[in-house]
Each structure stands twice: as C-alpha cells, then as structure tokens.
Symmetry: C2
Subunit: 184 residues, 2 copies
C-alpha cells in the first residue's frame, strides 16, 4: 500500500475517478447525485450525467434542460454538491461548489456534441414536473434553446476511504487544494 498519509495521492485518486466518469459511461463517477437547495429552502437531489471534470480549474459540468427545477434552485442559491460512491475503491467523493448556468452561443459546441438521440432530453412539453393526465401525456422535442451547461466551480472536496481504518480528508480551493486530514 502507498503512504496512507499522502494527501496529494488521495486527491489524485479522486480526480482520476472523476475523469473516468466523463470518459466511460460504465464508471461509477458517470452518474453522480447532485444536490441543490430549492427556492423554499428544501434540499433536492437527482442523478445527473457528468460531462466534464477539469482538475486544473477544479470544475465539474453537467448538462440540463433550463426548464427543470434544479435550474430554478441554482438561480435562487448557486451552491451545489455532487456525491459519488466508488464501490471497488470504497471511496466516497463529495464536491461542493457554486454553479454558473451557461446558455446561448457559448454552449453551441457542447450542443453539437450531444448525440441526436439524446437531444430529446432538452425540451420536454409540458415542462418537467408539470402535472399530466396520463403517464405518457408528454412530448420530447429536441429544443436547442432549452439546453444549458451547469458549470460548478468547486470550493471543497471531501473524500472518505472506507478501509480497515477509515481515512477522510478535506481539500479546499482557498489553500490551493493542499488538503487536511479530518476525523472520519
């Protein structure tokens, strides 16, 4: 086993999993759970697909339909948290940051890369969450103007490794991600 006190290695392992999540649809970090706070102050969470993980800028990105409640939540409170559990590594990754909602020409290139079959995820009518009479009373056109990128500027990463003895460390942007061991 490598040095259990190596904070940089622990952080590197986290970013390796996040990068794999973007590249490999079958990897554990592909589908994090994303938490936001609704305008009435309740925590909301849902599965999302991880689309970008940039270690240099400490940024995570997901795509969304701007008509979903998570966009309304982020407009009222920009803080969001990601949660990933990596079974084979017994590793819990938690990432907290503030989110920019990006639409318009700036995300043209992202939209172009969305497979045609997936574009129907953006534009459901009526809008997601609207009451309907029967289970299938909705349409899924592909609506370019409903597509947005949620860019989360991470401020903190909290890693827990469940081993014979657990290890937990917190890394923050404010000190250049140096990291600090904390009691698990």
């Amino acid at each position: 086993m490598s040095d259990p006190n190596d904070l940089a290695a622990f952080l590197g392992q986290c970013w390796q999993h996040l990068g794999r999540g973007v590249a490999d649809a079958k990897s554990p970090a592909r589908y994090p759970t994303l938490a936001t706070v609704s305008p009435d102050g309740r925590p909301e969470l849902r599965t999302v697909a991880l689309r970008r993980a940039d270690v240099a800028d400490a940024v995570l990105e997901v795509h969304t339909d701007i008509a979903t409640p998570k966009v309304a939540a982020i407009k009222s409170n920009p803080w969001a948290s990601f949660h990933v559990w990596v079974p084979r590594s017994d590793l819990q990754i938690r990432a907290v940051g503030n989110v920019d909602i990006i639409t318009g020409p700036e995300v043209d290139a992202d939209w172009e890369r969305v497979p045609l079959a997936s574009r129907v995820s953006y534009g459901t009518e009526p809008v997601p969450g609207a009451p309907i009479g029967h289970a299938f009373d909705y349409q899924k056109p592909a609506t370019r103007d409903r597509f947005a990128v949620l860019r989360c500027h991470l401020q903190q990463l909290d890693l827990v490794h469940l081993g014979e003895q657990h290890r937990r460390a917190v890394f923050v942007r404010a000190d250049g991600w140096a990291g600090q061991w904390v009691a698990p």
Copy 2:
C-alpha cells in the same frame, strides 16, 4: 406489462424497494444518499444506511452520531431528501420530509439492536470533521450518548421510471398519497 397508468402500483413498487433496503444489506435501497441544508445554506449529502421504512406512517429512519454535521444541519433546517437509484428496475426514488432527531431512552431499543462491531460508528474522537495531524489520528469508542435516530416524516415521494417511455409521478402526504403523473 401491468397498467402503466396505475399510480398505486407505482407507489407500491417504491415501498417494496425501501422495505427491501432495510431487510437486505445487498439491495439498492440499503444505502440511500441523504441531502440536508447546512446552517450556511449549502446542500450537503452523504451515503446513509436505511434502518426503517414504514409505509403506514410514511417514515424513513437512519442512525447517526449526534456529533456529525448532518445533525447540526437538521437542527437549523429540518428538511431532508433521500435519493435511491434501483438499477434493475431503472427506478429513481426521491423522498422529501422533515426530520426529528431522537436521542435518550426512546432509542434504547434501537441501540440494543446495533451490532457490537457497528457501535464504534457512534463516538469518534475527535468528532467527525475535526482536523487531525495524520490520517489515523482518531479513536472510535462506542459511545451510547452519541447515538441518535433520524426519523424522517415523508411529505413527498417523486418516482421516475426510465423505460422506452419514461414515467414520473409525485405523491404527497397532503392528499393521502393518491399521486399525480407529471412530465418527466
């Protein structure tokens, strides 16, 4: 396939998974992701173990060390959300409710049922999240007085089934859990 418009059957499927989560450590609902809102308004989330799922009262319970940040979060904002993804059923379960923090004699029976080997989850010194010099600079005594039950009185269940056509329904306590189809 059974009637896709049967709301009661959809809800029944959800509670079946939740019940299985309590009974079977290998089932998908055993380890939900629990979201709370921290005192400074940020969403927090972590894996928890589901300990009780009561369909009659619409209650979910988990156990916790009272020194963890989730207890501080719930004291400042009692709303919590659970998230479960059931792979084989392509079902996302989201449950929102208000949480009571229960300690003292009322949870004696729960504590007695916690296996001896698991009791060290309650009482870590220093407290969870406290900075430590090295990865393993902590102790895990079993401390009865740090044990608490988080009892979540569900107010809403939101179910999404990813099928050839997706189905989504929202059920609320206020109308006796009758349910309403919504656009996915």
